[in-house]
Symmetry: C2
Subunit: 328 residues, 2 copies
Amino acid sequence: MGRIEINSIMNAFEFVKPDIQSMEELIREQVEDNHPELAIALDLLLSSGGKRVRPTITILVGKSLNADYQRVITMAAAIELLHTATLVHDDLIDGSLLRRGAPTLNSQWSPSATVLTGDFLFASAAKLASETNSIDIMKLFSKTLRTIVNGEVSQMFAIRCKPSIDEYYRRIYAKTASLFETSASAAGIISESDPAIIQSLAKFGREIGMAFQIIDDILDFNGDSAVLGKPIGSDLRQGLVTLPAQFFFADFQTHPLVKKVLEFGCLKDENEIKSLIEAICDSSAIEKSYSVAEEFIRKGITALTAIPETMERNMLTNLALSQVNRDR
Amino acid sequence: MGRIEINSIMNAFEFVKPDIQSMEELIREQVEDNHPELAIALDLLLSSGGKRVRPTITILVGKSLNADYQRVITMAAAIELLHTATLVHDDLIDGSLLRRGAPTLNSQWSPSATVLTGDFLFASAAKLASETNSIDIMKLFSKTLRTIVNGEVSQMFAIRCKPSIDEYYRRIYAKTASLFETSASAAGIISESDPAIIQSLAKFGREIGMAFQIIDDILDFNGDSAVLGKPIGSDLRQGLVTLPAQFFFADFQTHPLVKKVLEFGCLKDENEIKSLIEAICDSSAIEKSYSVAEEFIRKGITALTAIPETMERNMLTNLALSQVNRDR
């Protein structure tokens, strides 16, 4: 559909597979000597088929810059665990029963056990981050955690079904792009790169993270629920106006359902919700959203040229470009 | 009642009041530029009349060792915030409605808001700890957080109403003594003391922390619920066999209610629970528990003699001794 072309070089995810395995071993080691139920929970979470895109970025940036391998793997593990911890608390808060087709922890455990498992994962992520022996990493790590949680708090208290493009971009930065930013820049810090390089890496991660979340938000409209492993339209049902809906609401203000939402707030009738989702899918809002994501990806890739061209850098570029074509 | 005598020198809590105020200002600054509801929550939590015993230890140890003032205050703030974060999630998990006579956050907010507020406090505590610019502090901080959460997980999955003295000591170390240990030793790390001194400070904090929790557990039997600001006997009602109950169960195995618990598990009848609490209060179990607490305090005070005798060290000694006389 006219999406950006991708060079057919080796897939980044295939390339980092052994590194991701080392990372997962390190993650599993974190629960040894602790309560056995935590190991069970971690196993469930690790086997649930996440794409590991954040640690993949850390590892590829680290390899591009010849950063110390063990510290890079340790940081990658910290980032993946932090991400997992936020998902555990998020799913509990949203009452989500499925993620990537697998039952969420909160669908099987008590709220208490779910809260504490998330806390333990946060603590373990902090422990791993501290094992990089870099105070700059620790500062970045805790700043990112605060950004993510503050974003979740803002989202919780936000007025439902009220379009605001500024709020949307703020939200997806906090929710997703901030950790992508950290995934890339942390590897720069470990390699002791110049501040300007670290800034460029942060920009790369941030822009790619924005694109990543926009694609997620598009797939929540036009994706295949069987492939995604979760129902379609969940954002709209939660009252979150993501980018496709923002465009649709701005462009079709006379559409009866748009008028209804703008006047009375969230739709409650399931048929109306479905018909609004269909209308958005059939409109130019989807293409427009893809274009915005592509623009973020282009800016990210440009920022990445600050580091030397290596095979790993090319993989990062392709990883970024491939986002627009993913179906889950 | 024959408890250890305390020298009537200046009260430690009075002495550190200006420092605690600086610490509280620093804590309040952490919520600026974040979501306004977080500031409201933090205000509620800070004004709820905690004793600030942990940061008081950090500050007094820091002053004894001439540690950098700003770093000590920053660490004290990190410790108090970490403590507050664990209380927020604990009260949610236990469904507690009152703490220190004030409504808990979970009694007024949704579970989701309570979870996220706790997460934000964890993140802010980690941020402050990282601002001490010491990787050893960060390692200690994340280790302590893991210990506390792992202890809570073990407590949640533990069999109710089953006396085990080993499990009791493990639990109160994880729940309370580990953070006291960190409160004292962190100030030693900041002052760049010898490892042997830091070890002694850790021992001081650990022993005092054990005593502190035992006194809390005694007060849950013989305290005044109006002074405590929470109902009496809450541990036993939750199925937790604390030290007074451990002694009573060991010494009075033929007592009909003890036999009932050992055979059938937790009591359900409110009159039976009340009568068991009364029997424990009237028994030697309370005095025995005080003696154990005093022994921990003596060991803690001995460990503290590793640092030079200063006014602040004497205050720490008195602070430790005064634990057995507190009524809340």
